[in-house]
């Protein structure tokens, strides 16, 4: 290659990089600044893609992203992992300055509080639907998207529908001894939060009463649902709807009931990542999930309770007087709780 052509090539590459840099910078700036909806849609469509990191079930992500694509023509893909590996992966990518996710949705608030710089600030300039979202569920850099009830799953061959326990007090009845499969509360923050909420509402003696039922432990709500459907146990709690959705669809003898007194809920939060590869698509998506269409899409499978639809008018699961659990507990508190539940010495 001659020196002249080499210089020419270098000039062209430099120019291309400069244009790309300006475009990227402009795109990022556009994603934060006030913008008309039409301009945002145009910019998001130009990006053409959206990556969602989510710990919710595959079906839920598929449904929501499918509806988003149907409305805007922006193809969504998702990475589905449980909360902690998902955040570990995301934090490594942020640290490596190679952010892959545009939007993240998990069942914990801790990383959003500890690392606010990772996320885009939620303002009405950023998302025009934000003022419509219940203020109780809005935080500086994320929104609480759904308030997932803690359920009990029961085998309908063993317990006819309607005769199942409906409150925690009924659940502690000694008649259920030997029939209960308890999801090990030590496996995840939200189960610890559930234990904490239950103790606060009903006291440590109540936990000891549950412990006296001598429940068998299961390492996850997912395996608990399978055991209930198979008839290995009559009742599994605490659990979430996602774990039983596929079984119910296949007509397995399993049903769910949202336990009350107290009505504890686990918040699923959602946020857009700063420096994401598709900032405009992320912004449009965040705005869209707060719209009527977005809420309807989230509730299409009838498995989640979107916090902006407490009455269920868009088809969401109704949760009355939800009491969100806390995700931040001290080690001492955790130790005391598992001790009261008879899971540690």
């Amino acid at each position: 290659m001659s020196k002249t052509s080499s210089n020419h090539l270098r000039t062209r590459i430099t120019a291309a990089l400069a244009v790309a840099g300006v475009a990227l910078g402009a795109s990022a700036a556009l994603a934060q600044a006030p913008i008309s909806r039409d301009a945002l849609i145009k910019a998001a469509k130009a990006e053409g893609k959206l990556m969602l990191y989510s710990s919710s079930g595959e079906t839920q992500s598929k449904t929501v992203l499918g509806a988003f694509e149907a409305e805007f023509g922006i193809a969504g893909s998702w990475l589905r992992l449980t909360t902690i590996p998902l955040i570990q992966r995301m934090s490594a990518e942020i640290e490596g300055k190679d952010v892959q996710a545009d939007v993240v949705s998990v069942s914990t608030t801790v990383p959003f509080i500890e690392h606010p710089e990772w996320f885009v600030k939620m303002t009405k300039e950023y998302a025009e639907n934000l003022p419509k979202w219940p203020t109780r569920w809005v935080s500086p850099n994320y929104i609480s998207w759904t308030a997932d009830n803690f359920y009990l799953a029961y085998n309908t061959d063993q317990i006819p529908v309607g005769t199942h326990p409906k409150t925690y007090a009924e659940l502690a009845d000694p008649k259920w001894k030997g029939k209960i499969l308890l999801t090990d509360p030590r496996v995840a923050d939200n189960y610890f939060g559930w234990l904490d909420g239950l103790e606060k509402a009903r006291g440590a003696d109540f936990l000891r009463k549950i412990a006296a039922l001598n429940a068998t432990l299961t390492p996850s709500g997912a395996s608990g649902a399978q055991m209930i459907a198979a008839g290995a146990f009559a009742i599994n709690f605490p659990t979430f709807q996602d774990f039983s959705a596929a079984l119910i669809e296949k007509k397995a003898p399993i049903a769910l009931f949202a336990i009350t007194e107290p009505t504890l809920v686990s918040e699923r939060v959602i946020a857009a990542l700063a420096n994401s590869p598709h900032p405009n698509a992320a912004r449009l998506f965040m705005d869209w999930i707060m719209s009527e269409n977005g809420i309807k899409a989230a509730c299409k499978n009838k498995t989640v309770a979107v916090v902006a639809d407490p009455e269920g008018k868009f088809g969401c699961v109704i949760v009355k007087d939800p009491e969100p659990i806390t995700y931040i507990l001290t080690e001492e508190r955790k130790k005391q709780l598992v001790k009261d539940m008879g899971l540690a010495n």
């Binding site: 998702w78 990475l79 990518e93 892959q100 079984l247």
Partner: protein
């Protein structure tokens, strides 16, 4: 050829020998970078935050009462697993490789059947079979007890118990012991056994006092593999141990990393460092015992191998083997397959509802299909690379000997003590971004697997290499063969059965790997582990069973091919020595 001519030839070969040495050094350096660069980053972050030692972390980690319970339970399981699995695996290997109980290639594959499933699939297979209330055996057992007038509560035979837990650890470990021991027996010079038989030693006496000591390295290696897997297995204790309230170290470490945010990586790494020391000491002890007492090696003498005739015990031995395989492998595999045909797991089989829908569901989903196909390729490539590297390092280690060999041996075992998920984070941080930018690629998973499976590969390779004597190699060198040719035509064929055994082991581990996949795989580079995790959390056990069956078929074909392709040198030529 005169001695002068031989010296001249050796002199001429020196530059080539240096080139090969340099190649080996570069290879070793690359492997060590893949292992120790990510590991170094993890250790520094966890143990030396701000480059200062955090002694409080050690105190907090090691003073947890729950940890003591988990360690105690793990030690009990490791002890029971080792003393049960090693004799069973070695005995079956001896039956198949050294006696006329073997019948065709089939018998060589029977004991490795449990190896074909990832541990999570094997565990749920046993749940389907032996859950006291919903297992396929629950109702027949209850009827049987009733008929016999026995007042036995079926819960007493639950697989979710100490007994069930140890049983599954043993089932997982026996094939590991078997393949290593079978490779050693297959390569063993049979003259010692024949001499013993001529001098009137009984069959069992021959097994115990001649055959087993002759493969002492393989026995030690398989015991070490068993102990390492006892420390590291997660799926079995998570599913069965949790229900029985038996906490073990792997589940304890998993909770440290997965239960809360931020994950307690520091505590997990502290435990990993303690495990590194324990495994290193065990490896050194195993080497010392095996070396100090001597063992038989493949020599340069021409031999005409004969199998030990079991006489009247031939068929009982075969029946024992078949019974073991049926009870421990075929039944749970069948249970897994039946459930894969059901819409969901249920204890009664409704024939009208059986279908291949779960299989078609996988095949119709593009990402699942891609994950299965590409995982198989990734496993073939990774396993071949890791076994070759381990083989070369073992040969080099044997040649250099002394303290350097010991260090090489210990260093290649280090990754076995680090949880895969922690190691994967280190690999992602190291190679995922600038300047490598491997995030979301196959190469990053390849690098991670290369590092995490080097311990198992090196244990299998060391066993194979130690079994080969020096006579043939020295003879080859003296007669002017280049080092490469000596390796290719003398050493490789002799250690090939051992390497193939290691290959088979690691292939199945790679195919079913979950935790590193969680960090490194994704929509752009899906692997089977990613699918298993998704199904385990949000699918049905029927879908998981279907995936387990597919993995079983893929692993079955591949492992059979590997073990049959690299048959020991005496196989197929042996006759029976009779009684």
């Amino acid at each position: 050829m005169t001695m002068n001519a031989v010296s001249q030839t050796v002199e001429n070969e020196r530059p080539r020998y240096r080139a090969i040495t340099a190649l080996v050094v570069v290879l070793a350096a690359l492997v060590f970078v893949a292992i120790f660069f990510p590991l170094g980053i993890i250790l520094q972050r966890a143990l030396l935050p701000n480059w200062k030692p955090d002694f409080a972390l050690w105190a907090t980690t090691l003073s947890q009462p729950d940890l003591m319970v988990a360690v105690r339970n793990t030690l009990i399981i490791a002890f029971l697993n080792t003393i049960i699995s090693v004799p069973i695996g070695i005995f079956f290997a001896w039956l198949v490789e050294r006696t006329d109980a073997r019948w065709g290639a089939l018998s060589r594959l029977l004991p490795v059947i449990p190896l074909l499933l990832p541990p999570v699939a094997m565990t749920i297979g046993w749940l389907f079979l032996a859950d006291p209330r919903a297992g396929f055996l629950a109702a027949p057992l209850q009827s049987l007890f009733k008929m016999l007038g026995l007042a036995i509560d079926p819960s007493a035979l639950a697989v979710q118990s100490w007994g069930g837990l140890v049983l599954l650890y043993v089932l997982f470990s026996v094939p590991h012991v078997y393949v290593v021991a079978a490779a050693a027996f297959g390569s063993l010079d049979p003259s010692l056994e024949e001499a013993a038989r001529i001098f009137g030693k009984g069959r069992l006496k021959c097994f115990w006092s001649i055959s087993v000591p002759a493969i002492r390295h393989a026995v030690g290696s398989s015991a070490l593999l068993t102990i390492i897997s006892s420390f590291g297995l997660y799926s079995i204790p998570a599913l069965l141990g949790t229900a029985a309230r038996i906490d073990v170290l792997s589940v304890y470490i998993y909770r440290l990393l997965n239960a809360s945010y931020p994950p307690k990586i520091g505590q997990a790494v502290v435990l990993g460092v303690v495990l590194i020391v324990v495994i290193g000491l065990l490896w050194l002890t195993q080497r010392r015992i095996a070396s100090s007492t001597g063992h038989a090696q493949i020599g340069g003498m021409g031999v005409r191998p004969n199998l030990i005739g079991l006489g009247a015990w031939r068929w009982p031995a075969r029946i024992l083997l078949l019974l073991y395989v049926t009870l421990t492998s075929i039944l749970p595999l069948l249970a897994l397959f039946v459930v894969s045909l059901q819409p969901f797991w249920r204890s009664t089989i409704v024939f009208d509802q059986l279908s291949f829908a779960n299989f078609f569901e996988f095949w119709s989903d593009r990402q699942s299909r891609t994950a299965i196909i590409n995982s198989a390729w990734l496993a073939v490539l990774t396993t071949t690379a890791v076994v070759l590297i381990a083989g070369i390092l073992s040969i080099v280690g044997k040649n250099i000997g002394g303290a350097k060999e010991k260090w090489l041996g210990v260093l290649t075992k280090v990754p076995s003590a680090i949880p895969h998920i922690v190691f994967a984070v280190g690999v992602l941080v190291t190679f995922g971004f600038a300047p490598f930018f491997l995030n979301g690629t196959w190469l990053i998973i390849f690098i991670c697997y290369l590092a995490v499976y080097i311990p198992q590969a090196s244990i299998a390779a060391e066993s194979a290499v130690q079994q080969v004597g020096n006579q043939l190699v020295e003879a080859s060198r003296i007669f002017g063969a280049r080092p490469g040719r000596t390796f290719r035509t003398v050493q490789l064929p002799l250690i090939l059965p051992g390497l193939a055994a290691g290959w088979a082991l690691i292939f199945t581990l790679v195919v079913g790997e979950l935790n590193a996949a969680a960090i490194l795989a994704g929509p752009r580079n899906p692997v089977i582990g990613y699918l298993i995790l998704a199904l385990f959390d949000n699918g049905t056990y029927s879908q998981l069973a279907a995936l387990g069956s597919i993995i079983g078929i893929v692993s079955g074909i591949t492992v059979s091919a590997a073990l049959l392709f690299a048959r020991p040198r005496f196989s197929g030529k042996a006759g029976s020595s009779g009684d």
